[in-house]
Symmetry: C2
């Protein structure tokens, strides 16, 4: 069987079944009280330099990892950065890249640089969290909230552009204090709701009319992912917009003004 037939979640299940990886239930691990996340960006797979600047690429590499920390309610302490780059890469571009990585204000304290046929960025973010809600605690009756508008990444992609992922570290700590479940929306609202529902053993009902859309975004853009807002199941929504609720059952149901609706582009991931 090839990796393309398995997908990332399928590969993880195969490795866990053989006890080759341990305790990976979401995108962050806990080591000696430290929350550790790691994500890689590969040129041609995750980004194209004709669509974003070196500085924006640096921001993105930091932000997607800090998003995993935010989803763990963690305060960031440090980044470790490995850069693989072709030997002909210009120093000025690499300096812009690291300037973008530094922009969120979390110090880069270590890493590795190496030659590679195309750009590869692997970033590890480390932080501390007072409470990590995880994905498995959502309960029927919980409200589902998000931390900001969705669809902006997909809308930008349609226009051959690229938006900077937001930083939701403050919101993450605020929600982590009381949320029953918390994660970031990196693969699209449908896919990530499906993961939360499966982990929690409950159903999620999303009201599409209540989902805040980014400027220029349409409902179809929700399936693109890469919005990096947080999704939480909470007893009290507080200041965050409610997009749905948890219910007894399984799976994800989308409603539009109370009627069953389709959200294009996510069904084949379930």
């Amino acid at each position: 069987m090839q990796l393309s037939d398995l997908g990332e979640d399928g590969l993880l299940r195969e490795l866990q079944a053989r006890k080759l990886v341990h305790g990976i239930t979401n995108d962050a691990a806990l080591v000696s009280g430290l929350v550790v996340t790691q994500d890689a960006l590969v040129e041609g797979v995750h980004f194209r330099l004709d669509r974003l600047s070196w500085r924006d690429l640096g921001w993105r590499a930091a932000a997607v990892n800090l998003s995993d920390l935010a989803a763990s309610g963690a305060a960031p302490e440090a980044l470790v950065v490995t850069l693989g780059a072709p030997a002909a890469t210009d120093l000025a571009d690499v300096i812009e890249l690291y300037a973008g990585i530094a922009e969120p204000g979390v110090p880069v304290v270590g890493g590795d640089t190496t030659s590679a046929p195309q750009l590869v960025l692997s970033v590890t973010a480390l932080g501390r969290s007072a409470r990590i809600p995880g994905r498995a605690g959502a309960q029927p009756g919980d409200a589902l909230v998000v931390t900001g508008p969705l669809g902006g990444a997909g809308a930008a992609f349609r226009r051959d552009g690229c938006v900077r992922p937001p930083l939701r570290l403050d919101e993450g700590r605020e929600l982590a204090a009381h949320a029953h479940a918390l994660m970031d929306i990196s693969d699209g609202l449908g896919v990530d709701c499906g993961r939360l529902a499966a982990a929690s053993g409950c159903a999620l009902v999303i009201e599409l009319a209540d989902v805040p859309l980014a400027e220029g975004a349409e409902i179809g853009d929700l399936g693109f992912g890469e919005d990096y807002e947080l999704l939480a199941a909470v007893a009290e929504p507080g200041r965050f917009p409610v997009v749905g609720r948890c219910a007894a059952g399984a799976g994800v149901t989308f409603l539009r003004d109370g009627q069953p609706a389709e959200l294009a582009g996510w069904q084949h991931f379930t």
Copy 2:
């Protein structure tokens, strides 16, 4: 200026001068009391799958990071692994790879898998150390010791082969308790001695006749690197073989039976 003109140390200096990276003085960082190392292996740059098996590649990815922990006197706690692989990669090969990563016995607790045009492995190792000697404390009069035979990787390479890097975690903790300086030999005895001498502000005198050679290795193989034995400057060598001494001055001098000698393949790195 291109990265190929700078080298890894040169790039690090440029980034440090701009305060874009902090506190990177060797291959490990300290975050909240946790030693964190990160190294990447890129297919075609660091390895070729016609020279080593998937399992050996996994061992190597773990071992080169654990070597950085050993050089920090750290006991390992966890690995975080990011794998980039072509979509057509076979699951059985990836399972072998992770089996090799697991062989040293340090749990893989997190990471990321992604599509990539060729294999890319980025591993972060995390551990705890009671004392990190660093590279800057060697003093004139110290003995220089190594933890095992050198040249094996270079000798294997000459024969189109590849040897597994050793694990020196126990030796690292033993040496870290008292060593004035401690590092691993990853880029060749000359290059790494040059780094230790520069960081400590002293001279190193190596007696080549005293350097333990791996089976089949010649003196010329010492410049190849990738032996991953530890190099320490100590007041008392204890059970470890002495290969030289620290002296007042700067730079690295090689002797053979007391007479100045050349060690091929390292001068252009100084």
